[in-house]
Structure formats: C-alpha cells, structure tokens
C-alpha cells in the first residue's frame, strides 16, 4: 500500500499576508496541492459601493502598503474612462514616475531581503545580512529611494495621498523632485550591481510551460496602459479582460482564483511575464545588462523572476531619472470633470503583475459597482500548478525540506496575499421546497 504523506506549511514566510500550503503525496504521485489563503476577507469591493468616486483612489490604496500605487493608478484610469476624462501628457508622465517609485521600493526589498535568502539557505534577510551586509544595505537603500519618491510626489511614503481622479491634487515643486536626483543616480548603478549579483545565483533547472500575460504598449515598457498580451494567445483590449479571464471561488481560499476562461487554464503575471513580452522596451541600461548577463527570453523558469525584477529595477531608475531631470511643474495638476453615469475599466502593472479594476458610477458621482482583480489572485492557480510540477523533483527529501523548497517556489512570485483576499460568495441552497 502506498504511503500517504501530508506536508503542511502552516504559515508562509516572507510573503505579504497570511497563507499556508497543503500538499498531499501518495507514493510517488502528487495527490493534491492547495495554496490556502486564510487571511480574513476585506470587503473592499463591497464597501466602495455608494461612496463618492473621489474616495476610491485613497481607499483602494489601503489594500496594500507595498503596492498602493498600483491600486490608485488602476482606480483613477478606470474612473477617468467612466467619466470620459482625458488627462494631459504631463499628468501621464508623472503617473509613470510614481509607478517607478513603487517598483523600486517593492523590487528592491523583494530581491535583497525576501527572495535572495532562498539562494543561500538562510531563513531571512536578517540572516543574509551576516553574509552579505553590503548587499542587504543596498537593498534597504533602494527601498528607501522608492519610498522617498512616493513621498515627494505622492505626499506620503506609504499609502500616498496626492493621487486623484483627473491627475494630482498638487504638482510637486521643482526642487522637491530634483533633490532626489543624486540618490537616483547612485541607485541606477546599485540596481545594475544588484542585477549582476542575482544573475550569479544558482537556479534550479526547472521550467514551466507558461501562458505569460502582461500589458503591452507599442512605445513604452508597460505600466499604466496598453493591451493585454500573452505568450500563447492573441492580444486583447483591456475592455475584454473579463471575457478572456474569470475569477472563481475555491473552498480552500478566501482569495478568488483566476483562470483563462476558454480552457480553464492557469496563467502567469508578474515581472517574468513583462520582461518576456516586452524585453525590447526595457530601458537602454536594462537591455544592456540583460545582454551582458545572458538573460535569454523566452524564460519560463519561475526562480529567475528575481533577475526579471532586477532588470525592471534598472528600468525604473533610468526612467525615473529621465523624468526627474526634465521635470517642470505643470498646470493644471488635475483635469476638472462633471459627474455622469458611466462605467470604465483599466489594467496596470503592479510590481507583482497585472491588476484589473472596473467601476460603475452614477450621475451623482457615487460608486455603483467595483471589481478589483489583483495579481496574486491571478497567480494562485499557476503557483499550485508549478508546485505539482516541482514536487516530484523535491519530494524525496524529508517533509521539512520539501516544505521549504515549496515555499521557495512560492516566494519567487512575490505573492501579496493581503491584496488577494475576497469574501467567499454565499450560496444558500434550501432543500425540500
């Protein structure tokens, strides 16, 4: 009789939010893999209803402390579509700058303190600092740069408050942004060094047959807009997202799981997808380093997402520097609008992948419907599929080692569990009527 092993990771570490993993193995076969998200539901889509649309960017920013800009950007673009607001090129440019800040703080932190420890067999960034104090200090400094940019442009280092429907409440003064330039020049070189460092890591020889999905824009590396591209399917308009992708409840998770509607298959969002689909649009320095370290695309090794993050870190610094150096305070800082009933959707690129928002508003400016699909919801099913493929390679180890290796794969996605939690839909079935 084949022995059944159950491996539990009660609480995933170095990921944002509360989640666990259950794996059931029977002999040499993987019987079940469940990424269990048990963080309590957060009700954002529900309590946005009836609220003034002006509150949406600040409320949705509260979904996450590390990617609030992604929520703000997706929200304002969707609401501006609903209200038929056309923003100026200056506002658009400053939104990209804000997004650069978020990518810098998120990628800098994840690469150095959350993911790098996995390649050196240590439990945390604190332990890693004993071996690599300079590298850990660098990661902390990069994170701080990102937060400083968010503070200068967004008004606060975490949960910025300067973003509004139509633009920004206030355009920063020139010196408020220019004083960041010396640090960002240092940061660009540090990002190059960081990417060279992570490229030397020893990566498992493991590839998955991914359906990589990200935004794609004809002229720029995707952040705030574009069409939805895929490594396996044709490009679609963002407006068609809900036709091609579906979210569903699973019993073991308070987070919805997304899949490609036509085949009910998983897909992969995040830096690895973005770099694969948009490598030619990376900044010159990022492209140069990608060539230097031999980062070949297509790359379907999830562990190498840390290199993709490094390339995006370089890109974010280089683009931010360009904008900072050319910055001139702009007017108007926001486009006025009048209320009208309408509906709009938008997708942007959070540090950990594509994020989709849709809102309906009434003619009094109140939210009638809100739908938010964060990246981690979209990656959950893919993570489970990856683990099914990864487990036969690692399951001969003892349970603890197997669990640790599962966690390493999960962390390569930089999952944000807090972002992804939804309330389970309640279906009441009354029998006998």
């Amino acid at each position: 009789m084949k022995r059944t092993r159950t491996i539990k990771v009660e609480a995933l570490t170095r990921v944002e939010g509360e989640g666990g993993l259950d794996v059931v193995l029977k002999g040499d076969s993987v019987e079940d893999v469940r990424l269990s998200i048990y963080e309590p539901p957060r009700f954002f889509e529900g309590f946005l209803r009836g609220r003034p649309l002006e509150e949406v960017p600040d409320i949705t920013a509260r979904i996450c402390g590390i990617c609030p800009v992604a929520y703000q950007m997706s929200a304002v673009h969707a609401l501006e579509q609903a209200l038929e607001i056309q923003i100026t090129p200056e506002i658009r440019r400053m939104r990209r700058l804000l997004y650069c800040g978020e990518w810098i703080e998120s990628h800098g932190l994840h690469m150095h303190l959350l993911h790098a420890p996995d390649f050196f067999g240590v439990a945390s960034g604190i332990e890693l600092a004993a071996q690599f104090p300079d590298e850990v200090n660098r990661g902390l400094r990069l994170k701080k740069h990102g937060n400083e940019l968010l503070e200068a442009l967004g008004g606060r280092a975490i949960h910025p408050v300067n973003v509004c429907v139509g633009g920004f409440y206030r355009a920063p003064k020139k010196d408020e942004l220019q004083k960041l330039i010396p640090d960002f020049e240092w940061g660009l070189q540090a990002a190059v060094d960081a990417t060279r460092w992570v490229a030397t890591f020893e990566f498992p020889d493991f590839v998955c047959n991914y359906d990589l999905v990200s935004l794609k824009h004809p002229d720029e590396y995707p952040m705030n807009e574009g069409r939805i591209a895929s490594s396996t399917a044709s490009e679609i308009a963002v407006a068609d997202y809900e036709t091609h992708f579906t979210e569903d409840h699973v019993a073991h998770s308070t987070a919805l799981q997304a899949y490609r509607t036509s085949k009910r298959t998983s897909y992969h969002v995040g830096p690895l997808a973005r770099v694969n689909l948009n490598r030619n649009l990376l900044s010159p320095a990022a492209r140069r380093i990608a060539d230097e370290i031999g980062f070949e695309t297509p790359c379907h090794n999830p562990f190498k997402a840390i290199i993709a993050r490094g390339l995006e870190l370089i890109h974010a610094y280089e683009e931010a520097l360009t904008i900072l150096k050319e910055y001139v305070p702009f007017k108007p800082s926001r486009i006025p609008y009048e209320y009208s009933a309408g509906e709009g959707c938008a997708a942007t690129e959070a540090p950990r992948g594509l994020i989709y928002h849709r809102y309906a508003v009434d003619d009094a400016g109140k939210v009638q419907l809100a739908m938010i699909v964060p990246p981690t919801s979209q990656n959950q099913k893919q993570i489970e599929n990856d683990l099914r493929a990864w487990l036969p390679r690692i399951m001969k180890q003892n349970d603890q080692q197997t669990a640790d290796d599962c966690e390493r794969l999960i962390r390569s996605y930089d999952p944000c569990i807090s972002c992804s939690t939804h309330f389970l839909k309640l279906n009441i079935i009354q029998q006998g009527q």
Binding site: E16, L109, H110, A129, A130, V136, L140, K144, S418
Partner: protein, 189 residues
Amino acid sequence: MNVNSLSPNIPSQRLSIPESNDTPENVPVRILIVGVGSMFGDDQAGWLTVDRLNELLKNNGGVPPVSVTIKLATIPLDVLDWLSGVSCLHVIDACQSESAAGSIHRIEYQNLTDILDARRLSFGNHSTHDFSISDVLKLAQQTGKLPPQVCIWAIDGKHFELQRFLSPGIAEAIESVAQQIHSELCSQQ
C-alpha cells in the same frame, strides 16, 4: 549639551502625524532616543513618551551635558539611517505580550531575543511591508550599524485601532518611562 528636539511639545494623546525631524548634519549625536509609533490607539505610546521627555528636559531648566537627539519614527526602518556616530540608543515602542496593558519592559539589546521568546513579546509588523523595531535592530547588528549600547523600552498595549484614547495604564507607563530615561540622562552629567 545639545538637545535636538524635533517633535512639537504636544500634550498627551496626540493622534497626529509626526513633524519632519531631520537632524542637522553638523551635530554630533551620541545619545539617540527614538519614539516609534502610529496614530493607532496604544501605538501612540512611543511618540507620547518622547513628547513627555521633551517636556521634562525643558522644564529641567537645562539639559544633560551630553549630545541628545530625540526623534519620532513611524517606519522603524528609518532608524537604520540615524545610527551613524550614536553611542547609546533608547527606543520606545508599544508591544504586545502576556503582560497587562501598561506593563513596561526595559530590554538591553543583548537580551532582546531571549526576552521576546520568554515573554511572548511582539512589536507587530509581521509583514513584508515593514520591519518591527526588533527586526530593525537585528539588521543593524548584522550590518555593523548597531550602537554599543541599546536599550528598548516596550510598553504593553491593548487596543491598536485608529483612536485617540489610550487603554488604562498606558498614560502612567508613558510617564514612568519618560521619567526613567530622563533620570538616566541626568545621571550621565
């Protein structure tokens, strides 16, 4: 003596975001006192303690003859940037442990890990968004930034919701910690 007080003299229960508190670069810092906190109920304890300490130093009619810098932090990681040249660090933060609200834990850094375990004491922030003050101090040690003398004053809180009011016992603990740090500063004259 140089007291570089950068927080306004606000009476208890402030519920406000700290003022900017950059230290002038030409001021040598020997003793750094950091109140870590937020606007969430008992988590104001760190901020309120350094506010009270400011009052005590000003009412003293003078200040200790050593360079003292007092700062407020909302993001514990910021403390890492303030440690250059510091010989003695006092950190005040709210915590949760098995003790009653208002309990005070004076912890020398070298005993930190043991005491966190023994008293099931936590400074929160179990997330990737930020690091707790205990994690920040461990990072400082690993990266060679930790001052020779580090003392953590942890005040047990009970309610950490967004509210002005403090749980019973917290105000007394704040006064006690401020008085004790003040006495230690004065004893260094």
